[in-house]
């Protein structure tokens, strides 16, 4: 039942393999050739530069929006701060409710139909409604981000809590562990990896949620900037913003990976070794 990230080991593996073995030069070569073809195509008049901006113009736009006009910073700050706050609040709510529902069979039974309905509804579709209800501004943006963030941590915490390993549960029962002990020492740590997978999805969703909110509100944020540039047919700058989001997306991906290594350390060779020596030190020193 848990929702998993689509990013697979296979892709990361291939990526690492293809970036080794002196293949980098080939990759860069192909990329540059494609870029050059695009540039040439545009200059030869095969691609309308009004709609399909030239690579050289995109690079120039990067310089414009970041340094010459430096107008992107304000919007970046607005988007990123809302995404982080909304993600933290929304996913905390999701984890909390997920655990609550997971432990209470009665609530779980009654909530099931609502979860099915909620799962089928595109959550982001509620955006106009929330904006109408809460008005333009930060409140409705935050509400939208929290809403799209909520679901993955909720459903993953729920399934992590429900799918406790039977044998381990039997072990705890044979040791006469109390309910709280089973929760604290078995269920929650066991659910951490799957909760983390939910958190990663939630952060990605948060960014999309913020963009949709900004498209509708058109006041500030990277989403409204993309919209305005596109409306003015300044496609090069719109693409510079989109590639900025690529970089943010990549940082989110890497950051969540790091966080996972830190929190669910026992899943990774390096994490195990780090904690192993750390615990040895704390045991020996005092």
């Amino acid at each position: 039942m848990a929702v998993q990230d689509a990013t697979s080991e296979v892709l990361v593996d291939t990526l690492e393999r293809s970036l080794r073995n002196r293949r980098i030069a080939k990759h860069v070569g192909i990329f540059l050739t494609l870029t050059l073809l695009w540039e040439l195509g545009s200059r030869m008049g095969w691609l309308d530069p009004l709609f399909y901006p030239r690579p050289s113009n995109i690079i120039r736009s990067f310089w414009l929006i970041y340094f010459q006009n430096a107008n992107v910073w304000f919007h970046l700050y607005s988007t990123i701060s809302l995404v982080i706050i909304g993600w933290v609040l929304g996913s905390m709510l999701g984890i909390g409710l997920g655990a609550l529902v997971g432990f209470n069979t009665v609530i779980r039974r009654f909530l099931k139909p609502y979860v099915i309905v909620l799962e089928a509804t595109p959550r982001i579709a509620v955006a106009p409604l929330l904006i109408a209800a809460l008005g333009f501004g930060v409140n409705s943006k935050l509400a939208i981000i929290m809403l799209v963030c909520f679901f993955a941590p909720f459903i993953n915490t729920l399934s992590g809590v429900i799918n406790v390993n039977e044998e381990r549960l039997e072990l705890f029962r044979s040791m006469r562990a109390s309910k709280t002990q089973i929760l604290r020492k078995l269920v929650l740590p066991d659910a951490i990896p799957v909760i983390m997978a939910g958190e990663r999805l939630a952060l990605t969703a948060a960014l999309s949620g913020a963009l949709v909110a900004e498209f509708i509100q058109r006041d500030k944020g990277i989403g409204s900037l993309i919209l305005v540039y596109t409306r003015n047919l300044n496609m090069a700058s719109a693409f510079a913003c989109i590639f900025t989001l690529t970089i943010i997306g990549f940082l989110i991906f890497k950051g969540m990976e790091k966080l996972d290594h830190y929190i669910a350390y026992w899943k990774y060779e390096g994490g195990r070794e780090r904690m192993s020596s750390k615990r040895k030190r704390t045991m020996v020193e005092p």
């Binding site: 044998e167 006469r176 615990r279 040895k280």
Partner: protein, 261 residues
């Protein structure tokens, strides 16, 4: 172990006893265990052997208090079993270690369940890890250990509780033959050292006889205790004892009992 003939109270050194114990599942449609009577003496090693579905694991879980009998009664140290208890410790076929804890922390788990571990508890856990030959792996995580080593940690955890009755449910069943033989020898040594009473479930006849003072042969459909065989081989037992004439006569006996049904 003798069939339940004399009264339960009379035998002073009996630590586990059962009277007409039965267990059915699925609203009585599946009889897992029928009319089991037994007395287990202090410090003895008892093997339960039989094919799948003979109720040997069910019997073990009944003694542990994880499940309740449908009929009859089980007593441990003279008091009826009605739930998991402190004087009983259990080990499973899978090591069931917690991935996020080091070996030492896994061994300390039962102590933590009963309160905050003291310095002495920690030292005891380290001693037990030494006893099972894992002193160098006290701070390793389960994923860094082999299957055999994980079971050794589980064995140390079993002993950490301080319980004098040890229930072992095919503890080395998932391991390869060599590791299993080695760990069985270790198990015999350790159980003797801590003077515990052990009930050991297995479907391996050789293993059952090699370890035990008494072998309970169980048959299936419905699960019942078919025969109790005393193993009067002297201890300590070397592995080579398995080729002796007496040992093979016992193997023959178990096979006949299993085949006769």
């Amino acid at each position: 172990m003798v069939k339940h003939e004399q009264s339960m109270a009379a035998a002073g050194d009996v630590v586990v006893s059962g009277l007409n114990v039965g267990k059915t599942f699925a609203a009585g449609t599946v009889v897992a265990l029928e009319n089991a009577n037994f007395d287990i003496k202090r410090g003895s090693f008892v093997s339960l052997v039989g094919p799948s579905g003979c109720g040997k694991s069910t019997l073990l879980r009944l003694v542990s208090g994880l499940i309740e009998p449908t009929s009859g009664e089980i007593e441990v140290h003279g008091t009826p079993v009605n739930g998991p208890r402190a004087d009983i410790s259990m080990m499973f076929q899978k090591a069931t270690l917690l991935d996020w804890r080091t070996s030492l922390e896994n061994v300390l788990l039962p102590t933590e369940i009963n309160g905050t571990p003291s310095k002495a508890d920690k030292n005891r856990a380290l001693d037990l890890l030494k006893l099972v030959g894992l002193e160098d792996f006290a701070f390793s995580f389960p994923a860094q250990l082999s299957g055999g080593m994980q079971q050794r940690v589980a064995l140390a955890r079993l002993l950490q509780t301080g319980a004098d009755i040890l229930l072992l449910d095919e503890p080395f069943g998932a391991l390869d033959e060599f590791t299993r033989e080695h760990l069985n020898t270790e198990l015999m040594r350790i159980v003797a050292e801590v003077r515990a009473t052990a009930i050991f479930v297995t479907h391996n006849i050789t293993e059952a006889i090699f370890l035990a003072d008494q072998v309970v042969v169980m048959t299936s459909r419905p699960g019942r205790m078919a025969k109790i065989i005393n193993v009067d081989l002297e201890r300590p037992r070397p592995l080579s004892i398995q080729t002796s004439v007496e040992f093979n006569k016992l193997v023959e006996d178990v096979r006949e009992t299993l085949g006769a049904v």
